[in-house]
């Protein structure tokens, strides 16, 4: 059970200061717009927090691009909106050398179709989030818990995340973090390992065949058998290699119930 509220709280509280700047090439006004500063929760998604940013910059772009979807870019890379913000920061920013706030360029024109997907509205983000949640539950409980949940539970999860309400979210998410039946462990650990451009996913059990519980080290060894000294980053920190996988899955998963590990 995910009962270490202290950890869950700290994970939930994580916010990043972001400085949004409009691409100077897209400005049609005489005056350059001021940058827009915002604190964004690491666990959230960009489409959920950038309404104000869009409102601020839309005055400065040409009227024919105003209706276009806004997209974000950092160091010449378009940002994947369907990744949690924390995952984007951990995988794209070298936090040791780049100072905060995180400077992101805002675009309205030339949507990079080949690199990122369009999101027409927040419902798209929601359905994507729900799909991830279900996939995670398939891995953990063969999909028993998520499919037995009611629509209002799904709504509560989504609204809890959208409105940054810890208690509202965890009241339902708690059920997803329970272990079913007599087992002390999930069936498999839902995780994604971000490496280079994509991510890797594999079936990894929280306990070995010998009944010993597996650790982060075991997971990294199973995933990269030919590599040594792999360091995984999650929530802006590097968990110790001896951290048990079951505990990590319960306490360090993102709201979509996946462990998003960034290999550095």
């Amino acid at each position: 059970m995910a009962n270490d509220r202290e950890i869950l709280r700290e994970v939930w509280e994580g916010k990043l200061p972001v400085c949004f700047k409009l691409d100077p090439d897209e400005v049609v006004e005489l005056q350059q717009p001021d940058p827009f500063y915002l604190m964004v929760p690491r666990l959230s998604y960009f489409p959920l927090v950038t309404d104000k940013v869009r409102k601020h910059f839309i005055k400065y772009v040409s009227s024919d691009t105003q209706e276009h979807e806004m997209w974000l870019e950092y160091s010449a890379q378009p940002m994947k909106w369907h990744f949690p913000i924390g995952v984007l920061y951990d995988s794209m920013v070298d936090s040791d050398h780049e100072a905060l706030p995180w400077v992101i360029t805002v675009h309205f024109d030339k949507f990079p179709e080949t690199q990122i997907y369009r999101f027409s509205n927040k419902e798209t983000v929601e359905s994507y989030f729900m799909a991830c949640l279900k996939e995670a539950d398939v891995l953990k409980h063969r999909g028993q818990i998520a499919s037995n949940m009611q629509k209002k539970d799904h709504n509560q999860l989504w609204l809890g995340l959208q409105n940054d309400k810890f208690d509202q979210f965890w009241a339902v998410n708690r059920k997803l973090m329970e272990v079913s039946g007599e087992n002390d462990y999930f069936k498999y650990i839902p995780f994604r390992c971000y490496i280079e451009d994509g991510y890797r996913q594999k079936l990894v059990k929280p306990v070995g065949d010998d009944g010993k519980r597996k650790t982060l080290n075991d997971l990294l060894n199973e995933l990269f058998p030919d590599k040594d000294n792999v360091t995984a980053k999650i929530h802006g920190m590097i968990p110790p290699l001896e951290t048990p996988l079951q505990w990590m899955s319960e306490h360090l998963s993102y709201p979509d119930n996946f462990l998003h590990l960034c290999i550095v």
Partner: protein
């Protein structure tokens, strides 16, 4: 799930992350947002004003052609507006400057932050050193605790030894106490012995008194016995007289019986003539007529209105009459009975027989009472037996009662003797004397004629052999037990 060091590590990292990324910027950015919104609203206002200005300018241009006075006024207005605009522009520049200052401040703060970060890093290093130091100290502590544990062990063994020694000590102490107690006991024994010696002397005197009393009692007893013998003699004489009396009665009865033997009593018949000779004839005729019996009575005597005693010649005549007596029934509508003239005792006996016969009949036996003595004999025998049994039982009861009374008297006497004996033998044998013994009193020690009326209270003096009594005569008296007289009234 047990939590290890990794959990602490994760928590620390998360806390550091939130400090580094979130808490430093939170206030700054909210502040910035406020200033930013302010500037935006002002800019908006400015824009509105410039539009208004343009409008007015245009109006002014149009109006100039129609009238110069209006133009002048408009010019003045324009001038005023220009001034206003100037003020607004100044304000705007001021705001811009402030914004610049703010951003400068942000940059400065960022630099400071970085400095702080480096400081924190150095602090972290020192912290790590400290932690290593703590670890070494912990190891030392572990060693010390080990040593402490050993010392504790030694201490425990020492304590065990100490406790065994204490145990020995307490045993010895117990022994000492026992001997002391024994000593005290012996001392007390000696002391008690002395007291007992004194008591013994007193008791001897008392014993002497008691013996005197006993001899007095014995004398009295002898006297009483003598009296008892006298009584018995009187009783014997009494019984002799009684038997004589009974014999006399019996002879009288026999005589009476003999006299009445040939008499018959007749009831219910009336004779007109009272002359004895005529009466005899009348009765003879009546008997002959009614009973078909030919007898001649000696005499006929009237004893009541219709009751007559008829004296017959002999017993055979009487028998004839009695056997035919039942034929008299329902004669002339009047009832005539002929009965045997008997003594009072015989009548009583006959009554008894009748009652007994009735009882027997009720029990279901066939009993007939006839004049024939042979017929009645059986019944009479049974009655006699019955009566004899009753008498026996009465005698037995009387005997028992007497025996009991005699036994009780004897026992009382014996006890009276024994009491004095017990007192003298036991009191001398036991050292502690009467103090340790309490028996229920069974005899009167002293008798005080104290008060007129009720005695309400009796109380022993705790010191002397004194008793205080209080009575209904509103007097309090003190008594000396040994002398048996009142001291004060």
């Amino acid at each position: 799930m047990e939590l290890g060091e990794w959990r602490q590590n994760v928590l620390l990292q998360l806390q550091n992350r939130n400090k580094r990324e979130t808490q430093c910027y939170q206030d700054l950015i909210t502040q910035h947002t406020k200033v930013f919104e302010n500037a935006n609203s002002l800019r908006h206002e400015n824009l509105q004003l410039s539009i208004q200005n343009e409008k007015l300018k245009l109006e002014g241009g149009n109006g100039g052609k129609s009238s110069s006075a209006l133009e002048n006024r408009l010019n003045e207005e324009v001038q005023q507006l220009k001034q206003k605009l100037l003020v607004q522009a100044e304000e705007l520049t001021d705001l811009h400057r402030r914004k610049g200052e703010n951003s400068q401040q942000i940059i400065d703060l960022n630099i400071k932050l970085q400095e702080r970060d480096s400081l924190i890093a150095s602090k972290d290093n020192s912290l790590a050193e400290c932690q290593s130091k703590i670890l070494s100290l912990k190891a030392e502590i572990a060693m010390l605790t080990q040593a402490n544990r050993e010392l504790k062990h030694v201490n425990d063994t020492l304590r065990d030894e100490h406790s065994t020694l204490q145990l020995d000590f307490s045993m010895l102490e117990e022994k000492l106490r026992k001997t002391q107690r024994y000593f005290v006991f012996v001392f007390r024994l000696v002391y008690n012995y002395k007291i007992a010696w004194i008591d013994h002397k007193e008791l001897k005197e008392e014993l002497k008194q008691i013996r005197d009393q006993q001899s007095m009692f014995n004398e009295e007893l002898l006297k009483l016995r003598g009296e008892n013998e006298d009584n018995q003699e009187i009783k014997r004489e009494n019984t002799e007289i009684k038997t004589e009396l009974q014999e006399v009665r019996k002879t009288i009865e026999i005589i009476d019986k003999g006299r009445r033997k040939n008499n018959v009593v007749m009831n219910g018949l009336k004779f007109d003539n009272n002359e004895p000779a005529v009466l005899v004839e009348d009765v003879k005729a009546f008997l002959n007529q009614q009973l078909k019996v030919n007898v001649t009575p000696k005499t006929v005597t009237r004893i009541a209105e219709r009751t007559w005693i008829i004296e017959l010649q002999n017993e055979a005549d009487k028998r004839k009459i009695m056997e035919n007596g039942t034929k008299l029934k329902d004669m002339r509508g009047e009832r005539v009975f002929i009965n045997d003239d008997v003594t009072k005792q015989d009548r009583e006996k006959q009554n008894e027989i009748r009652i007994f016969a009735n009882q027997e009949r009720q029990k279901g036996k066939e009993v007939k009472i006839g004049f024939n003595k042979d017929e009645n004999r059986q019944l009479v025998e049974r009655l006699i037996k019955y009566k004899a049994k009753d008498a026996d039982r009465m005698n037995e009861e009387n005997d028992n009662f007497l025996k009991k009374r005699y036994a009780k008297l004897q026992k009382d006497l014996e006890e009276a003797c024994k009491d004095t004996k017990d007192l003298c033998s036991k009191d001398i044998q036991e050292g502690y004397g009467p103090l340790s013994q309490s028996t229920l009193p069974s005899r009167v020690h002293a008798k005080f004629d104290a008060h007129e009326g009720e005695v309400n209270a009796v109380k022993w003096s705790p010191l002397d052999r004194l008793v205080a009594t209080g009575g209904a005569d509103r007097k309090v008296k003190l008594w000396d037990i040994s002398k048996g007289q009142s001291k004060t009234a």
